[in-house]
Amino acid sequence: MSETVTLTIDGKEVTVPKGTSIIEATEILGVEIPRFCWHPGLSVAGVCRFCMVKIEGMPKLQIACNTTCTEGMKVITVSDEVKDAHKWALEFHLINHPLDCPICDQAGECELQNYYMKVGRYSSQMDEDKVLKPKALDVGDNLVLDTERCILCSRCVRFEDEVTKTSSLGIFNRGDHSIVGTFPNRKIQHNYSYNIVDICPVGAFTAKDFRFKCRVWFLNETKTICPGCSTGCNITLYEHKNQRQYYRLKPRKNMEVNGHWMCDEGRTMYEHLNATNRLAVPTIAGKHLSWNLLGKEFKQKLENVKGNADKVALVLTPQYTNEEYENILTSLKTILGNLPKIYVWRDSAEKIDDFDGILMRGDRNSNSKGLSQILEKHAAQAVTLSGDFSPLASSSANLVLVFGPEIEKSYSQFANEVTRFAELSNVIYFGTTLNPITKKFSLAIPTKVFAEKNGTFINFKGIPQKLKANPLVFPAMKGIEDIFAEIKA
C-alpha cells in the first residue's frame, strides 16, 4: 500500500499522504479555496458548499473539503464554472445576512467581507425581505451571539462537541429559520469560549471582552508567546496603532504546541500590559526617581556589598526570559565577585503537574524550564520559596534583589507574600504592576512586560520559543539588560 498520492491542482503537481482532502492539498500548495465551514482543527461538515472545485472526469462540481485526493486526480480551482459557483455560494450566504457591518465587531476581519472582495464582487439579486432572527443574545460568560449574522457554518457547534466536549450549542429550527443557539438553561461556560469567536467566520459570536472597544483596522499584530502558563501557546497580540494600548490576543497555529486554540485565562494576558496598572517609574524609598539617576543609585547599593556575595540574596520568579536570567546571573557575578544566594519564589498553591486535558497547565509560569536550565548552567543551588519564607529571613542578607512576577495573578497569595519581602531591609524590587507595597521597598524598579521583550521562553516540553518586542508603553523605560549594562560600564 503506497502511502502517498500525486495529483495535479491547477496544473501544479503535488504529492500528499493518502487520505488527504483536496482542501488540505491546496493548503500545502498555497492555493486558497474559499471556505466557511471547514476548519483544520475540526471535523468536516461540508455544509457551506463554498469550496467547490472542478475535478476532471466528474460531471458535477465537488466540495474540496470532503473529497479525498486520489492518484492522478486533476483539480481545477479557477475555471469560470468554479468562479461562478463561488459567487453564487457567496450570494446564498449573504441574502439573509443583515449587513450591519458598521456596528459589527468582526468587520475588517470578516470572511464574508474578505471573500466578497476576493471572489464575489457581484451585484446582489436579492430584492425580498430578509429573515429576521434574535440579536445580541447573552450565551455565556464571555460571548454575545447574533443569530442574524450567523451563516450556520456549524464550526462553533463542532468546536463544542469535539474540542471542549461540552456540547452546549446546537442548531435549532429548519430551513432559512435555522438558528444557532445554546440548549435551554445551558450557557457556554468553559475556559476555551473565546476560541468560538476566533473560529466564527462572521460576527455572530463576539467577545464581551472586546465588543465595541476598538475596530480591528486600528490594531497592529505582533506574533509572540503567551506567558500565562508553561504550555507557551503561540499568540498574536493586538495593539492600537496610534495609542499605546493593548486590546486582545488570539492564538496562532502551532501544531507542536497549542494547535489552533488557547484558553480564556491566557486571553487576559493583555490586561497587565496597559499603562493604567503599570509601574511606570522607579521609586527610591517611596519617592520617584528619574531613569537617569537609577543606574547610580543601583550601582551604589551593589557596591556596598561588593565582595560579600553570600550577604546578598537573589529572589527569582520563573516569568523572565532566558536572556534576562543569564544577564542577571553573569552581571551579579561580575559585580559581586561571586554568585549571591539564589531563591526561587513560586506560588504556594500551585499544582505543577495539573493539566486540564486541552492546553492549560498547573504551572502558571511561562519559563520554569528556562530558569532551571540557566541555574544548572551556572551550577547555582537555588532554594525554593513556596509559602515558607523562613530560609530567606534567616539568611540575614544585607541586600535582597527580588525579581517579582510579571503576572501577579498567577501567584494566588501575591498580595500577602510580597509583604514578606517588604519586611526585610534593603530590598530592591523589580516588578511590572503598580501596587501600594512597591513604595515600601528601598528601591523599586519597573521591568518590561513580555510584549516589550525579545527573548526566549522554554515551555514544559522543552521547546524554546521566541518573544517579539513591541514599542514600549513608557518610552523612557529601561530593561534589566540596559540597567546592568549601565552599571557595569
Binding site: I103, L132, P134, K135, N173, G181, N185, F212, F218
Partner: protein, 196 residues
C-alpha cells in the same frame, strides 16, 4: 519662421501719458462710491458681525450630530468617520445601548475642533447620516473655552438651531427594527422553557 510683435510702441504710449488712464480709474471708483452712497447699487461688503453672511447650503462649517425621530443620537459608533479623518480629531467610545433595536451607540463622541480641517470626510464616510457639517463658520472664542466638542454639544447646537432646524432629525430610512418586530422574533431563550 517669423514672429508677431504684440507689444505697443513705447513711444506712442509715452506720448499720451498715464494721466488719462488714472483719471478713468478714479472716475470708476467715484461712480461706484456715489451709486452705493445713494443706494443705487447694492454693496458687496457687509457689516459683520451685525449683519450675518449667508453661505450656500453646501457650506462645510462646524459639525453637528443628527438625531433619530425619537430624539436619540443617530450615530451607531461605527468609527468610520474616525477612520477616515485625516486630522485624527474624532474620538469615539462605543457602548451597548439599552434600546434593543439599536445595539451600539456612542457613549462619548468628541471632535477636537482645533485639529479639524473641515474636509467633510467624516460626513462622506458616515453610513447612517449621523454627522454633518453645518452652516456655522464663526467659531472664535476665548482661550478657556473648550475646544473639544462633546457629544452633548454636537447634538444640541443651540446657537445654530435656527439655521439647522429640522435638518437635525435625519429622515434617512431606519435600518433598525421596531419593537413589534423585535417581540415577534423567535426567542430561543424563553424563560418559560417550553422547549424547542
Amino acid at each position: 519662421m517669423g514672429y508677431i510683435n504684440v507689444s505697443k510702441d513705447p513711444e506712442k504710449s509715452l506720448k499720451n501719458g498715464y494721466l488719462s488712464t488714472t483719471l478713468l480709474g478714479l472716475g470708476q471708483t467715484i461712480s461706484v462710491f456715489a451709486k452705493q452712497l445713494f443706494k443705487l447699487e447694492e454693496s458687496v461688503t457687509i457689516q459683520w458681525p451685525e449683519v450675518e453672511y449667508k453661505y450656500s447650503e453646501r457650506f462645510k462649517g462646524a459639525h453637528f450630530l443628527t438625531k433619530r425621530p425619537d430624539g436619540q443620537v443617530r450615530c451607531t459608533a461605527c468609527f468610520l468617520c474616525a477612520t477616515n479623518c485625516p486630522a485624527q480629531c474624532i474620538n469615539i467610545v462605543a457602548g451597548q445601548s439599552s434600546d434593543n433595536g439599536i445595539e451600539k451607540y456612542p457613549v462619548r463622541f468628541e471632535i477636537d475642533i482645533l485639529r479639524c480641517v473641515f474636509c467633510g470626510f467624516c460626513e462622506e464616510a458616515c453610513p447612517v447620516d449621523a454627522i454633518r457639517l453645518g452652516p456655522e463658520y464663526s467659531m472664535a472664542g476665548l482661550p478657556e473655552q473648550k475646544w473639544v466638542y462633546t457629544k452633548d454639544y454636537l447634538l444640541n447646537r443651540s446657537e445654530i438651531k435656527k439655521q439647522v432646524g429640522a435638518k437635525q432629525v435625519s429622515k434617512k430610512e431606519e435600518n433598525t427594527k421596531d419593537a413589534s418586530v423585535m417581540s415577534s422574533l423567535p426567542n430561543i431563550h424563553k424563560s418559560s422553557g417550553s422547549g424547542h
